[in-house]
Each structure stands twice: as C-alpha cells, then as structure tokens.
C-alpha cells in the first residue's frame, strides 16, 4: 500500500487545519474514472437540432468526438482538425469558415443552428471569432451560428462549463417578453417538479421554460420570452446575466442551498419577483427534518463522504448532515469558494473531518487504502473510498429546497441499503445521457 503521509503535497487536510482560501497547493493533477459530470458536448446537445462543429487539434477533438459517439449523436457532430502549420500560415479564420461550409454542404439535413467551438490555441493566436461568425452568417443566412469555446487553459477567467451553459442560449432570437413566462436557465438537468421552486412558479400561473425540457427548435426559441430567468447552479449564473443583457429578462440567481434560512431567503426573493405571497413552508421543513432523522437512524454511525460533483455546496451539505447527527468523516473538494460561512461553521462543529483533493496526484492509490464501510454522496467519493453504497447524482441532481433535502435524505437511505455496480455506474459518461460505452 502506498504511503499517504509525509508527502510533499498531501492529498488531504484536517478541516481544523485547512485554509479556507486555499485548501491545497496546486500541482500536477490526477483524473479519477468518475464520468458523470457533463462536458461541453453534452451541454451543447441540449439545443434541439443543433450541429456541433469543433475546430481544434486532434488531441482535443478526440475527447469531444467520442463523447458524441458514446451518446449515439455522431450525426450531430463534425470537426475541423488544426495542424501546427495552420497556426502560422495566415489561414486561421478562413480554414474554419471554409471547413464549416464544407461540412454543411455534406450534411443530410439543414441544421437550424451550428455551435462552433474553437480552442485554446485559436484564442491564444488571436483569432477573430467575430469575423468568422459574421462571415458564416453571411454565407449561410438561414443558420444561427453560435460561438462556443473549448478553452480549458483559460478556465481561470471563465470556466468552459460556465461559458457553455450561457452559449446554449446563443441561438435565441429576441421575442417580446412575456410577463407570464419564467425560465430556469444554466442547469443541464430539469429542476425537480416536486420542488417548492417549481410549484411556486407553476402555482403562480406562469409558464415554466427550461431548455432541458425543449423537444424542438421552435420550442427552444420560446426561451427568449421569459421575463424572469432563474439560475440555480453556480455555473448557470453567466447564462442568466447574459440573457438579461441581451433580452432584458430579469435574472435571479437562487442557488440550490442546504441551509434552511438561505432556502427561505431564496423563496422570499422569488415570491417578491413573482408578486405572489410567500407560502408557509413549515410542513416542508418538518418533512425534510423527518427524512434526515429517518436516514440518520438507518445509516447510524456509518462514516459519510460527500463530494463536490454530487452537490454544488459540499461543505454546506456536510454541515446539514453533521447538524442532524450524521457521522460525516470526509469531504472531497478542491475549493470551498463561496461556502466560507458553512466551512467555518462545519469546522467548529466537526474539526476532524478530512478534506480530500479530487485531483491531487497522491489520490491515485486512494482506492487501495483501507477505508472501512463508507456511505458516499457522489461518484468521486464512491471511487476514492471504494464503496458501492453511494448516492449517484451530479450537480445536485435537480433537487432543490426543502423537498430537495428530503429527497437527498431518501437517496442516502436507498444507497445505504442497496449497493450499486460502482465500476459500471460511475464510468457512464454524462449522467442521464445515452452512453453506449461497453464499460
């Protein structure tokens, strides 16, 4: 068994000893085989009928093309490869324009929109993306061209996932705003119909618009009718801001929370914007607490590990669990950004929790370590702690509010009682997407 202590760059830190502003030193990174998180290909496929065209180097193309292959969506995916000489011979823009036009001429169908992805090297070389989009729009006026970005090198400016979550609305045309239409934006999965959020919106008589529910390009175009757009995940914030800038739809960022007061605050803002009376959530709160109590009874003192891919606020979720009697022992997260308050409260309550980096190189041998029986919330925690008892969700699973907490508690019970085929489940690429991979 490989050593995990005395390392130059330790993979873990005791919560009491952690620096909230920098949990771990940066360095080389490891990539665990948990594949549930969506990438920019999955997200782009949410635009009904759109063709994705990637222009980049072979190494970058390989991952995105095979993502589409595993989704059985190769017919909606084309590419233009970029060689070393392409970068320096002055044809950077014209190669992309000509390549896109050639692809369009060969397709069996006429896509209503093309999501055109350029890569790090294009941006680094100072490509004129606006000129490319402009020329393509001139040559192919019936198609909406959207600039998209596969630029992981630039991730510290705007992450590719956040940018893509915004760009999928790029093909929308302006329409008259409908005071009766409310959009949920920036999330790659539907928000639970049973959540208070959706029930409040529907209960107000509004139309609920959500790209994840769109079946056709025509339906997709109605998304620009929303007078209010709500984003519920951190990576969706840019989408809401952009739609507000483009169409004037008010953006409310109401992130999924695991703190009762914060959930109340979200609903106050929502009801204020909708002009509806704030419902009494006493029963929902009681149900959530009862579900947590029941789950704690079932799970008992079994150590719990929470990872950042399962819930967007792992420290806040861990705090909720710890406050309700769960034996939270591990959190897998490389940052606590945006969760500083929950972090400090959790540190006071459970200073011995261990925080693990998901990308630290020394996590390579983590699955071979002795962990005992652990209940994991999230695929990465399941992998690192070698447990088949895990909650299989990503990005909060679409759960929201008090009902979300109730349902997550239920999923924890279910995970505790019914083990999963970890090897197969976590290697399925893109949670909820078709994945033909023979894992």
């Amino acid at each position: 068994m490989k050593r995990m202590d005395g390392l130059d760059k330790p993979a873990c830190v005791r919560l009491a000893d952690a620096d909230v502003s920098a949990l771990f030193r940066t360095g080389l990174e490891y990539n665990p085989p948990a594949r549930g998180m969506w990438n920019i290909v999955h997200t782009g496929m949410l635009v009904p009928g759109a063709q994705e065209i990637f222009a980049c180097a072979q190494g970058c193309l390989r991952g995105v093309i095979l993502t589409a292959a595993e989704m059985l969506e190769l017919e909606r995916m084309s590419w233009i490869s970029v060689s070393e000489s392409d970068m320096f011979d002055g044809t950077l823009e014209s190669d992309v324009i000509d390549g896109v036009c050639e692809i369009l001429s060969k397709l069996d169908r006429r896509p209503p929109a093309v999501l055109l992805y350029l890569s790090c090297i294009h941006l680094f070389a100072g490509v004129d993306f606006d000129a490319i989009i402009s020329e393509l729009s001139r040559r192919e006026p019936d198609i909406a061209f959207v600039d998209c970005y596969m630029t992981p090198t630039m991730r510290q400016t705007v992450s590719p996932v956040m940018k893509m979550s915004a760009q999928i609305y790029g093909a929308l045309r302006p329409r008259e705003l409908d005071a009766n239409a409310v959009g949920l934006v920036g999330s790659d999965r539907p928000t639970d119909e049973d959540s208070e959020l959706v029930r409040i919106i529907r209960g107000s008589g509004r139309r609920l618009l959500d790209i994840t529910l769109c079946k056709s390009y025509e339906e997709y175009q109605t998304l620009s009718e929303s007078s209010i757009n709500i984003s519920t995940v951190p990576t969706g914030r840019l989408a809401g801001d952009e739609l507000e800038r483009r169409f004037g739809a008010r953006h409310l960022h109401l992130p999924a929370r695991y703190d009762f007061a914060a959930i109340d605050d979200n609903y106050k803002v929502l009801c204020g914007a909708l002009g509806t009376e704030l419902p009494d959530f006493s029963k929902e709160k009681e149900s959530a607490l009862a579900a947590l109590a029941k789950a704690q009874e079932v799970i008992g003192d079994t150590p719990v590990a929470v990872d950042y891919t399962a819930v967007t606020r792992p420290f806040e979720f861990a705090l909720l669990l710890a406050e309700n009697g769960f034996n939270v022992k591990h959190i897998v997260a490389d940052t606590a950004a945006g969760e500083e308050e929950a972090f400090e409260r959790l540190r006071s309550l459970s200073p011995d929790i261990t925080v693990w980096s998901a990308v630290n190189v020394n996590m390579l041998d983590m699955p071979e370590q002795e962990h005992g029986h652990i209940l994991a919330v999230g695929q990465k925690a399941a992998y690192f702690f070698s447990t088949d008892n895990f909650v299989d969700i990503v990005v909060g699973g679409g759960y929201y509010g008090f009902s979300g907490i109730r349902k997550l508690a239920g999923l924890m019970c279910e995970a505790f009682e019914e083990p999963k085929d970890r090897r197969t489940v976590i290697q399925h690429k893109g949670w909820g997407c078709t994945c033909c991979a023979q894992i």
Binding site: L28, A57, S78, V82, D98, E102, I121, R155, Q438
Partner: protein
C-alpha cells in the same frame, strides 16, 4: 478539405500514444496541458485506467503560465510529484498550447532530471498528430534508455514491439506469449503490455523482434542497428498466418546475412481484391494475410494511419481523410469491408460490413466486442 470530417471520428492523438506506451513500465508520465484534458486519455484512450494504476498526470497548464512562460511551475511540480510518487523514470510531453509557446521539453527534462535525480525523458508530442507518432517515440526512447547488451537467450527469444491496448485487445500479450511458446520460442519483452522495465533492460537478449504495430517500428529499427537484432512485422492472426509468421521469425533468427525481409505478407497483387481491411497498417496487413491463409480470401489493406513505406506501397498510400476514404470506397467498390464499426457511416449500404472494433478509433464504444484474433480460428467470424 482533408482536415474536415462530417461524421467520422478520428484516431487517438500522440499524447495518448505516449501515455499508453509507457503505462505499465513504472514511470511517471506528465502531459503539459490544461486541467481536465487528461480525461480524454483516461476515458477514451485507456481501457486499463479503472483497474490498473499508473502515474499519468497533467500539468494543469493555465493561460497565465503559458503567456508568462512559467516553465518553473511545471518543473517544480514534476519534481514535487516525483518526490511523493517515486517513479522509475519520468516522461514529459507536450500538447497544442506548449507547441504555440515553443516550450523546450529537452531543457525541461534535463532540469527535472537534475533536480529529482530521476531519469527524465522528453517526448515531443503536440497533440496534432496520431498516437502512432507518440507511442513510437516513447518506445524508441525507452529502449534507448534502458536496453542493455546481454547474452542471447538459449531458446529463440523474441521481443514484441508496438503492443498497446490502442491496437490490440487486453490480454493480447498472453496470447502472443502462448503462440511463441507453442512454436518453441520465448517471449523476452512485450513492449509494452505485460512487461516491466526489467524486461526492457534484457530486450537485447532476444534474437528477433516482432513488430505488431507501426508504433513499434522505430524501436525495432534501433535494436537492429544497435544490437544487430533483425525484426519481422506482423500480428499472428488466424492459424495459417500465425504458423507462417512463426516460421519467418525462425528464418530471421538463423539469417546471418541480414537479407531476411521484415515483411511477410504473401498476398501482393490483390489490388483489385473484393475485400478491404481498413485500419492500422500492420494489423490490417496481417489480417489480409490471415484471410488468405485460412480462407483463401483476397483482401487489400487500407491504411488510415502513418505507415511504413512497404505498406504504403501495398495499400496505395495512407488514406486518412474522410473524403478520400469515401472516394476510395466509391471508386474501388469492394464487396466486403472489414473495419471499426464507426466506419460503417461512410460505407455504402450495399457493401457487406464486418465490424472489427479498434480501440484507437472507437474507444470504449465497442471494447467488449474487440476480437483477439491471435493464433485462433477466424473462419467463423469472417465467413
């Protein structure tokens, strides 16, 4: 346009070729690229990732470090990681962004070796070429670095060069070993499936090198020049060709004149064959030979990747662009096509299509359907 594809995927890139080649040798491979870019390799190019640990990491390059030319971060991160992980060696290779900024991997490797005290091998990938180039350079450099002169084996010792799961199904190393033993030969080193760095060290004790993919060609040519070990190209697919190939290896071992040809694919003149096999040159060529030996089917290889000139001549050049392949199939009008299932998209409907998954093309999509054709009956599958 040659660099455009409407629907066909593309092959694994050079960086993944490096990682795949070095996977089982106990080293640490660092790809200088952005965070997350390693998921392409670990998801789609590496079937061993879940079950077998290997120190394959990414540098998590950022825009700022690229712009500022902050090579010191890469060097110090590698040295730190090596201190924690204690690898046998370090390999460092590049991707498109380092290509743009002109990163000097030779200098970086020298600096890492100096600070860490661990042999460090620079590899000159840039993410714009196929896995053949990356794996080929990796195999060559590992042999140069570790192979040492030693006594020849008493039995006929054979090295296998160019074996990676990108071209051969997992377990192929065992099939090759069994086939060699059945034919009175001994596997010395299978570079690089199922062998260790120690096996590489004693590779010069072999009397013949068997090249099973184009990725192994450069290393075999080096071994021939440096240690006088002849090489033979081919994968022992089927029964008849497997036997023939074994005989050719024996001939090569006995040949003191150096005149024994490395290529033993006895179906020249099949330019108008009704069956075509699309894929990596040595695999495709070997399958055409196996089809002839076992089934008297005349087949022609179509090479879609960098190939030795022998195969290029025989196959009429490398055909890698989607439009060229479509034109070839349209002009040649084969009755049967044997290829990775994802090629089906461009094969005319009226052509018989026999799927033969190739991991370097379709990744995980059909990995359980991959066929180990080594020294086995193939008639049922290709009838």
């Amino acid at each position: 346009m040659k660099n455009v594809s409407r629907i066909l995927p593309l092959y694994t890139a050079d960086t993944s070729g490096v990682c795949s080649a070095l996977y089982e040798l106990g080293g640490m491979t660092v790809v200088h690229d952005a965070s997350g870019c390693n998921s392409t390799y670990t998801t789609h190019d590496e079937p061993r990732w879940y079950d077998m640990r290997s120190k394959i990491y990414i540098s998590a390059l950022t825009e700022l470090d690229a712009v500022m030319g902050n090579d010191e971060k890469l060097i110090s991160d590698i040295v730190s990681c090596a201190a924690d992980q204690e690898p046998e060696f370090i390999a460092v290779c590049g991707s498109p962004m380092p290509m743009m900024t002109g990163v000097d991997f030779d200098a970086i490797a020298a600096e890492v070796a100096d600070r860490s005290g661990i042999r460090t091998i620079p590899l000159h990938t840039n993410g714009t070429r196929s896995y053949i180039e990356g794996a080929s350079e990796a195999f060559l450099e590992i042999v140069k670095a570790y192979a040492r002169e030693c006594h020849r084996t008493e039995r006929l010792g054979v090295n296998v060069f160019g074996a990676t799961p990108l071209d051969l199904p997992l377990g192929s190393d065992q099939s090759l070993r069994r086939w060699l033993e059945e034919n009175g030969m001994e596997l010395v080193c299978c570079l690089a499936m199922g062998s260790s760095l120690e096996d590489v060290r004693r590779a010069p004790s072999a009397r013949v090198d068997l090249v099973v993919s184009q990725s192994g060609m450069a290393a075999a040519e080096y071994m021939k020049e440096k240690y006088g070990i002849p090489y033979v190209c081919g994968v022992p697919f089927g029964k008849g060709f497997a036997k023939h190939l074994a005989g050719h290896i024996r001939s090569a071992a006995c040949d003191t004149s150096g005149s024994c040809p490395p290529f033993v694919l006895p179906c020249d003149g099949f330019d108008d064959a009704d069956t075509v096999v699309i894929g990596e040159s040595i695999s495709a060529g070997s399958l055409t030979a196996a089809l002839w030996f076992d089934m008297k089917i005349a087949a022609k290889p179509v090479c879609t990747l960098e190939s030795h000139r022998f195969f290029c001549r025989r196959a009429g050049g490398v055909i890698s662009a989607e439009e060229d392949l479509e034109a070839y199939l349209s002009g040649h009008k084969p009755g049967t096509v044997i290829a990775d299932p994802l090629y089906r998209y461009i094969v005319p409907r009226d052509v018989k299509f026999i799927p033969l998954p190739h991991f370097a093309f379709s990744g995980r999509c059909f990995q359980r359907d991959m066929r180990d054709l080594i020294n086995t009956e193939i008639k049922e599958y290709f009838k």
